[in-house]
């Protein structure tokens, strides 16, 4: 973060006797509220996030059922890493995260440019693009499973009209993961577009006027104003969709269940299957690993991306 907190954010300290008692706690923090105000959020955060997270770290080192647990040290972690399809899982997770976030950036930006231009149907088109975001992921998954069926599905029937015989999208090991990724992009690109629209709307008009004064055309406006100044939006889209891609599960599970075989398994579906098999400790260990992996990938990515942000 490049911004430093401006000193004016701290209200001037009132020099009355009554308020004087409270001043020591505010000293040096610039904190305008008494701590009690933070308590409700603090309790919720502790009970709902902090405690389970710490418990998860403990239970990942046990074999547990609902009522008893045996401490087994790091055995679950070695077992998890010995999982035969783990390599495919990691590979697929990365492919999935990179391809979906990449496509969302490109398509989201293109749609953002289109939908900030002076189109007649702009409002309508914006809602159309955003609509898939509102639909439940499971519903999308089930719908597309039907659309992508090899013989009766609409997609292959449409392809047949132009003389292409489409593959068994979800039943073929070569196309299964890719098909799910494309559906994921269809569903998620609306959110990316909205972020881009917001980012592009906040670019001051002056810059475009300056380009016009210098005799620049549409390409120059995009290349030298829109692209660099919507970097914060790109940043958010990449982070959001990359994390979303890393922990994606619902769409993959409804469309392929990690299949055929293990070919579209991602880390989350491997963990889920272990949980389903009753290996609670093992799946908790898997979640801890997923947590560490996501953190290890996303923290440096965030740093890198925010370092490139251009102050508007």
């Amino acid at each position: 973060m490049t911004s430093s907190r401006p000193s004016t954010a701290t209200p001037p300290e009132p020099r009355t006797a009554a308020a004087g008692r409270r001043t020591p706690r505010r000293k040096g923090r610039g904190n305008p509220y008494p701590y009690v105000f933070y308590l409700p959020a603090g309790i919720i955060y502790t009970v709902v996030f902090l405690v389970p997270t710490i418990m998860a770290f403990y239970f990942s080192m046990t074999r547990w059922t609902l009522f008893d647990s045996t401490f087994v040290g790091l055995e679950n972690f070695t077992d998890f890493f010995a999982e035969q399809n783990l390599r495919i899982g990691f590979q697929n997770t990365l492919i999935y995260a990179v391809s979906t976030s990449g496509l969302k950036v490109v398509l989201g930006m293109a749609l953002g440019v289109l939908l900030t231009s002076r189109l007649k149907l702009r409002g309508f088109l914006r809602s159309v693009v955003f609509f898939p975001v509102l639909v439940s992921t499971v519903a999308v998954g089930i719908t597309f499973s039907v659309l992508l069926k090899p013989d009766t599905g609409l997609v292959n029937k449409a392809l047949a009209l132009v003389g292409v015989s489409g593959p068994d999208w979800l039943g073929d090991a070569n196309t299964a993961l890719l098909s799910v990724a494309i559906v994921d992009v269809w569903k998620g690109v609306g959110l990316a577009t909205v972020i881009y629209i917001a980012g592009m709307m906040s670019i001051p008009r002056d810059y475009y006027q300056a380009v016009a004064v210098d005799g620049g055309g549409a390409w120059h406006r995009f290349r030298y104003v829109t692209l660099p100044l919507s970097w914060p939006a790109t940043n958010s889209v990449i982070i959001l969709s990359f994390i979303g891609g890393l922990r994606s599960f619902d769409l993959i599970w409804t469309m392929t269940r990690g299949g055929p075989g293990f070919t579209s398994d991602v880390i989350a579906s491997i963990i889920y299957k272990q949980y389903q098999a009753g290996f609670f400790g093992l799946s908790t260990a898997g979640n801890v690993i997923l947590f560490i992996v996501v953190t290890a990938l996303v923290v440096p990515l965030t740093r890198f991306l925010s370092a490139r942000e251009v102050p508007a």
Binding site: G171, G259, Q276
Partner: protein, 434 residues
């Protein structure tokens, strides 16, 4: 200010244990006149629901003082979790229907279920059924439903038309498949979207495995025999590989589901479908012809002289230890495991195989697959599936068999993967010798 904050903090930590408390259910107490209401938990397969409805109606007519309230759960792994969770939290319905065999072993019946050893409720139960609902020498359930044959469901109309005979060996099966393929019909139906249907070539081959290696189940449980290193056991994976490699499968097998498979079979556009006979009754309404057109035979082995069926025992009806109505629940179980109970069951859902109940014969109008299975049992040419003679079953078999059956992994590789999967399960269960 400071004290308030402190007190709030104390109150918060004092309240933590309260948050951990869960609401406990309160099953109705038995009334003095013997009237009671029982909760019954079943899976939501249409055939189970219909059968339960019919059995409950007949039971309530015979025992007007006892009311049964039925609730359903999803089948498969999700259902296993629900049953396990409800048993361990003490929230289980008075009576519940669940698998017998290895899945029952995982429920820890000694702690969660009412012991029925030597109880009169078992009066009409065939003794040969008891081992699959027994743990540590104690019996916990009565059979709910019929035995099921695992093997090949086939279209008899097509067999008739092409002049084919029911194969006794794998070579004959392959010859039939070639003729069917030559006639332009799909020889083998596979439906890998419903992954469990992919396991039958392996699991239903167990009659042949135990015929070739009689001690396999014991050695397998004791971690001495493996699928990958026992040629007879590896054969199941090879069959799966072979039917794919020879191009016998239907188009789009990777994304087809059970419904689509039954449609192919019923309409005669596919001829062989490796499946359980129990899958068929649910489709009788949709495809009435399956009652007579579809037959059953066991997965053929190498030796035509040793040919038989692999049988899945019926699930059980169990009483949760937390029930307040043991007497009423036992009355219900005794009814389920009686000829009248079986008759009521058969009225609700066409039986897919013989009942494990003394004094009840399959009706003459039973569906063909049930009669075919009964034929194997009468001739003593059947063996229980591995999951009824060994508690060891890996959870990933269905993904592995999809991979082998789609030609993504070789049979040997798949078998080795399954051995690893089984090892993981045995370790998690803490079985001796692993």
């Amino acid at each position: 200010m400071k004290t308030t904050r402190h007190r709030l903090g104390v109150a918060f930590f004092a309240a933590l244990p309260l948050l951990a408390l869960t609401a406990c259910g309160s099953p109705s107490e038995p009334a003095a006149d013997g009237s009671a209401t029982l909760a019954l938990l079943i899976d939501n397969n249409e055939s189970t629901v219909n059968a339960a409805k019919s059995v409950v109606e007949a039971f309530q007519a015979a025992n007007p003082k006892i009311k049964i309230q039925t609730e359903t759960r999803p089948p498969g792994g999700e259902g296993d979790n629900i049953v396990k969770t409800r048993l361990s939290t003490g929230e289980m319905s008075d009576v519940f229907w669940y698998n017998s065999g290895s899945l029952l072993q995982a429920l820890n019946p000694a702690q969660t279920m009412v012991d029925l050893t030597g109880d009169p409720v078992l009066k009409n139960v065939q003794e040969s059924f008891l081992p699959v609902v027994t743990q540590g020498g104690k019996v916990y359930g009565v059979p709910a439903g019929t035995a099921t044959g695992g093997g090949i469901l086939y279209n008899r109309k097509v067999y008739e038309k092409l002049g084919l005979q029911v194969p006794k060996s794998w070579a004959e099966f392959t010859a039939n498949n070639d003729k069917i393929k030559a006639a332009g019909i799909t020889p083998v139906i596979s439906t890998f979207k419903d992954t469990w249907t992919s396991q039958l070539f392996v699991l239903a081959d167990f009659f042949n495995v135990q015929a070739a290696v009689p001690g396999f189940a014991q050695d397998y449980t004791a971690n001495k025999a493996k699928y990958a290193t026992t040629p007879a056991a590896l054969t199941g994976f090879k069959r799966l590989e072979e039917v794919h490699a020879k191009g016998y499968l239907n188009k789009g097998f990777g994304s087809a589901n059970l419904d689509a498979g039954i449609k192919l079979l019923a309409e005669g556009t596919g001829v062989h479908y490796p499946l359980l006979t129990a899958s068929l009754p649910g489709f009788v309404d949709k495809f009435p012809q399956v009652t007579t057109d579809i037959g059953y035979f066991g997965v053929p082995g190498d030796d035509a002289a040793k040919n038989g069926a692999t049988v899945w025992e019926p699930g059980g009806a169990y009483i949760a230890k937390t029930t307040k109505n043991v007497a009423a629940a036992k009355t219900f179980l005794a009814f389920i495991a009686s000829p009248e109970g079986a008759a009521a069951w058969a009225k609700g859902t066409p039986p897919s195989g013989p009942f494990r109940i003394k004094g009840y014969q399959l009706p003459d109008d039973a569906i063909q697959v049930a009669k075919d299975l009964q034929g194997y049992i009468d001739k003593n040419e059947s063996a229980p599936a591995l999951e009824f003679v060994s508690p060891v079953k890996g959870p990933s078999l269905e993904q592995i068999t999809v991979a082998v059956g789609s030609g993504l992994t070789t049979a040997a590789e798949g078998a080795a993967q399954y051995d690893k999967d089984v090892e993981k399960q045995a370790k998690q269960l803490g079985l001796a010798g692993w």
